[in-house]
Amino acid sequence: MEQPILEVKNLSIRYNGAPADAVRGVSFTLGRERLGIVGESGSGKSTVGRAILRLLPSAKVSADIMRFEGTDLTALSEAQMLKLRGRRMSMILQDPKFSLNPIRRVGHQVAEAYLRHFPVSRAEAKAKTLEMLAAVRIRDPERVHDLYPHEISGGMGQRVMIAMMLLADPDLVIADEPTSALDVTVRLQVLNILDGLVRDRGIGLIMISHDLNLVRNFCDRVLIMYGGRVVETIAARDLDQATHPYTRGLLAAQPRIGGPRAPLAVLDRRPEWTEEFTQ
């Protein structure tokens, strides 16, 4: 069996000064697949993503194993992490409005991600950037390259972000709610682009989302988090057969097109959901 891209065992995270752990005992391995992490706000799903990239300097992160392609992430210095971040693992954030620098042309921002990690000339980096902008299906890369973030739409902004994150050809991409800020028509387009690139390049993808429909359509496997714990792991296509009452509750709470207009099921939160171990 091939070596997993990412291996996490018994990950716990406590924010500085917080009375309880934000994440407790999370374990999973990621191969060349698309893994969804779903949960509600405060479930710890984004915290897990950030801890993997070591973006939580003030939080207390502990794990029995947190290994990325054989490298122990917990033991790396910040200087070593800088070589890894953006090069071999990267993150796509929720809202391009806040993630792009408003006073720099988008092409330069994309190229920076490449120049940072490879000893190439600016001209070479620009050529790579244009190629990548075309790969995220931006029709006129030359023109878009010179635009500022306020001159492009949300959907195009998110495609620029994807281009930036995939340009260095990473092995692991963590997408944290990559399309929550987008309209439904644009959302599908962006997800299809991301999906195509991730498959073509054999990238391991962690898709963090609150949206069950999204992970059902764009992931292979899903972790469901509640109160900082993974309560259930299930193949995305079997999501409807989920057994954990929390997952079932989430599915039932969702209005569906063509569904009955009866009052929606309301989650009856049980204290034991935050206590039990499932693996």
Binding site: R187, L188, P255, I257, G259, L264, L267
Partner: protein, 253 residues
């Protein structure tokens, strides 16, 4: 009491002559008394602007808005507030962080010189499913769903007939959304409210609304009944695209 709504040629234009910019080229639709009417469309299509114009939060429009047969511009401010109220999208932004729930609910009662403050505040909180003890809480002591309930209680306290709902659940988790949608449906059944609801989620439209308008670039492309969603009965290309995308997203294609 329930009221009908009629909107004719609602438009916002900046400048004049050839250089005029039509921000909202023209919106017309009508909503029957007691109906739940949806406004859907992509961001920037003018959905929220329509609500802001109707409530005169934006006052630079031309055209006509009639509520219960009366021109909205002829209704005095206080009466207008008692006729229609708005619930905003983000309960983290729409409640004053330094005002307790009591302050939030008491202010409209005082302005409108209403009696029985305590009883009315208790009723409004009970209506939205919050315990009366929450009156002395501040927004930071409430969860997102509880905040949105307070925002709805604030809209209910003057006993309006028409509620303008601007994406009331899009900032909330799906389980909390279910609670708020159930609450809105129950209130409409009990009180016969007329709702105009802006949303980008067609599943919510299908669950809540009787009819909905699809907006694009400030215009209503098509008004459709709820039944047009599952089989994609839209005729306008954009409306078709929107419904198709939503169906595909739900995995129903």
């Amino acid at each position: 009491m329930t009221v009908s709504v009629e909107i004719r040629d609602l438009a916002i234009t900046f400048g004049q002559g050839l250089s005029a910019v039509r921000v909202l080229p023209g919106v017309s639709f009508s909503v029957a008394a007691g109906e739940c009417f949806g406004l859907v469309g992509e961001s920037g299509s003018g959905k929220s602007t329509v609500l802001r114009c109707m409530s005169l939060l934006t006052d630079i429009w031309t055209g006509e808005v009639r509520i219960g047969g009366r021109n909205v511009r002829d209704i005095p401010l206080k009466e207008r507030c008692r006729l229609m109220q708005m619930v905003f999208q983000d309960p983290y932004g729409s409640l004053h962080p330094r005002q307790s729930v009591r302050t939030v609910l008491a202010e409209p009662l005082r302005i409108h010189g209403m009696d029985n403050h305590e009883a009315r505040m208790n009723r409004a909180l009970t209506d939205v499913g919050l315990p009366v003890s929450f009156l002395d809480r501040f927004p930071h002591q409430l969860s997102g769903g509880q905040r949105q309930r307070v925002a709805i209680a604030r809209a209910l306290i003057l006993e309006p007939s028409l509620l303008l709902l601007d994406e009331p659940t899009s900032a909330l988790d799906v389980s909390v959304q279910a609670e708020i949608l159930n609450l809105l449906n129950r209130l409409r059944e009990e009180r016969g409210f007329t709702y105009i609801m802006v949303t980008h989620d067609l599943a919510v439209v299908d669950h809540m609304c009787d009819r909905f308008a699809v907006m694009l670039h400030g215009e209503v492309t098509e008004v459709l009944p709820r039944a047009a969603i599952p089989g994609n009965g839209a005729t306008h290309p954009y409306a078709r695209e929107l419904i198709a995308a939503s169906l595909e997203y739900e995995g129903q294609l």
